[in-house]
Point group: C2
Chain length 462, copies 2
Amino acid sequence: MIKMKNVIVIGAGAAGMSAASRAKRLNPSLEVTVLERSNWASFAFCGIPYYVGNIVNGLNDLVFYPPEEFKKRGIDLRFNKEVTEIDVDRKVLRFTDIKTGKEEKMSWDKLVIATGARSKAEKFWPEIKKANNVFYIKHLDSAEAIRNYAKAIGEGKKVVLVGSGYVGLELVENLARLGLKVTIIEAMDQILPKAIDRDLAELVEQELKSKGVNIIKGTPVESFEINGKKAIKVKTPVGYVEGDMFVIGVGIEPNNELAKMAKLSIGNSGGILVDEKTLTSNEDVYAAGDVTEHKDLITKQFIWRPFAQIANKMGHVAGSNIGGMESVFMGSLGTSALKIFDLIVARTGLSKAEASNMGFDAIDASLKSGVKAHYIPGGEKRINIKVVADKKTGKLLGAQAIGPSESVFWRINVIASLLTRNSTVWDLFNSDLGYQPTLNPVWDPLIIASRLLMRTLGEKPI
Amino acid sequence: MIKMKNVIVIGAGAAGMSAASRAKRLNPSLEVTVLERSNWASFAFCGIPYYVGNIVNGLNDLVFYPPEEFKKRGIDLRFNKEVTEIDVDRKVLRFTDIKTGKEEKMSWDKLVIATGARSKAEKFWPEIKKANNVFYIKHLDSAEAIRNYAKAIGEGKKVVLVGSGYVGLELVENLARLGLKVTIIEAMDQILPKAIDRDLAELVEQELKSKGVNIIKGTPVESFEINGKKAIKVKTPVGYVEGDMFVIGVGIEPNNELAKMAKLSIGNSGGILVDEKTLTSNEDVYAAGDVTEHKDLITKQFIWRPFAQIANKMGHVAGSNIGGMESVFMGSLGTSALKIFDLIVARTGLSKAEASNMGFDAIDASLKSGVKAHYIPGGEKRINIKVVADKKTGKLLGAQAIGPSESVFWRINVIASLLTRNSTVWDLFNSDLGYQPTLNPVWDPLIIASRLLMRTLGEKPI
């Protein structure tokens, strides 16, 4: 067993608690301490919209494991502890108890930085600090605040969502469920600009509009107009938009202050650069989750992807390496998904435009297809799917899909697993997907997509 | 363009019509004739249970394309034509019109044999020929006969299903839907003996029993007792089982008479051996679908897998090669799925026992997991999943899953795509599957399965 004693994990989110649990489990002789600034550990950030919409009743339902569970695992989990200083040469840090103001010092043999991401909302619009009706998601406390405020103002009142990312749109659905009138203001000329192509985004826009949501595109929010303690409208280049409540669903960045203090190598996004073992530029400091950059599996370039499943995996890998079992996280593809009213939206890998920008000779195949056999009830439901490949090599590069079916998500996961294995269009054709008439058509849309791409590439591998 | 004229396709099922359509599309100068013994072309065999259960109204709903569509495509589709003689040296065949008795001769440049599978029921139990209440599925006419008879005898009457394969169990669900009392008699000591492991099969048995279906296992049907034109009971080693109607859901084989006549190489199952181009041992004769054996992607051995999606793919590949575009079908994994009442069952690749028999040092990981985040409604639903790998190399070998969720099917498809790419347990861990709380848990059961397997193998690739 590797000889070492103290492991300190900063941050008790998905990455931090995965790392702490894994390290302690593999090597029970480790003393594992987790320092967390908030009152929450191991909570489901992605569940917040469903808490707001009353789908989830209590905040505790969003906690994967209660603090006692970590105590049982032998992990010293401490809340309200803000780390204020890190000295990587002497391997010591200093932290303050936010409530008591008490300071402590602690030394480590291995450190894990898992400080997550933070909102840039107050940097962009400092005036919102004065308002009590402008929200953005951070910890579970903000979920509580959003839900309470939304319920307090009541049905028919106006909510403005600034931006249109995944979590923001899931909030829209849930705020609408509470009976509020939602307007989305998006700076780019489509919603979900970072996630999907414009033609597919238009289908999401139709769905939102059909559910009574207003959308204002190509319109940045310049400032908030505050009256007393309330924001009453936002200013845009084309005029003002009024609201009773405002939610900022855009602009997060790696929470990298400590990483900077520790002089770790940092990428373009501000995320800590880590290798396959999730080790930073310091050999005794690991980092995992939303505070890091890791490699994209296709482009092999560092990228920032603050997704919960990646944070969990990276935390697990960091914990394994610290606990004495060599483990690797190879990178990610940006596979992500959204449920918005009756639609599922998902993507993985590169869009055609992204692929072209990376130097690929990108081609794509788009189709609209039934999700099951035409003669089965529900067989009339259609999904749109788009698969991107490289014309020179036939290599698959990415896919996007949208439609009223969970299978949208899973078809994208099939492509994701093929992308992970560096596969081609011919591999997709030869993927032996199952067939059952209530579950998919005999020619699954994925296989049809491979056939469409083979029209350009030829049916035999190059 | 390749110079040739006559293409004859024998059999108008999935494989035959895919081949004919593809060849004609790629090379419109070809004269493509399809000779079909029945009255049906391009029909959905797998939809028959749903026709029996009134989910599908008309038989024509089970037809993918009507005969006129093939006429429009320039294909000469001829019904009621039985091929009686094949001379591969002179490249000529002889066929009879079943209705008129008229004989014709026709020569080919390329021949496609797509004669499908046939039931062995009358070989096993010749006495059933006399009975008008013993059924097995062949063409759509048999679907009509089963439905009509089931409706005629009416609710509460007893149906005996002999065997418990996929289509048989789907018939059970649909016969139960019509109000009939179903008893399954299975010769092996579990249901679905060729499809899934016993522990998972027990879950299917529980589901069937909860829906009022009787199951008699480990009990072969020795003979049918016939009274006049009706079978009244079956004889088994442990006694008689009475029924008002009998359905045989077991025992099919490649319909290989013509292949034998053509002296083509034939495998152990009786299926025609084809290469990656779907070419038989004769350079001008292709074969596709249920009448063929093709290679298993893992074991590289020839295997017989009469599945519709494979038939369509093989037909497409045969048609492409005939039409002048080189195309390959690499093989299959036996990915298959069943919907039985509220459960989905799916498998791909090898079971642990099959893998051990093939010489692998097989290990497996089994788990029961939520299908979505625990805090989302429906998050309490559990699925069982089992992933098999090779201990020496970490190579994935197969997976099985069962549960009340479509995601069972898709998770198996993710494994299937990884198997197609010859992947390892570490590749599964690193597959960047998406996460959305209404669609899966943040640690997807597939990724947890990889972690369980890595406990034995180590977390870093060997």
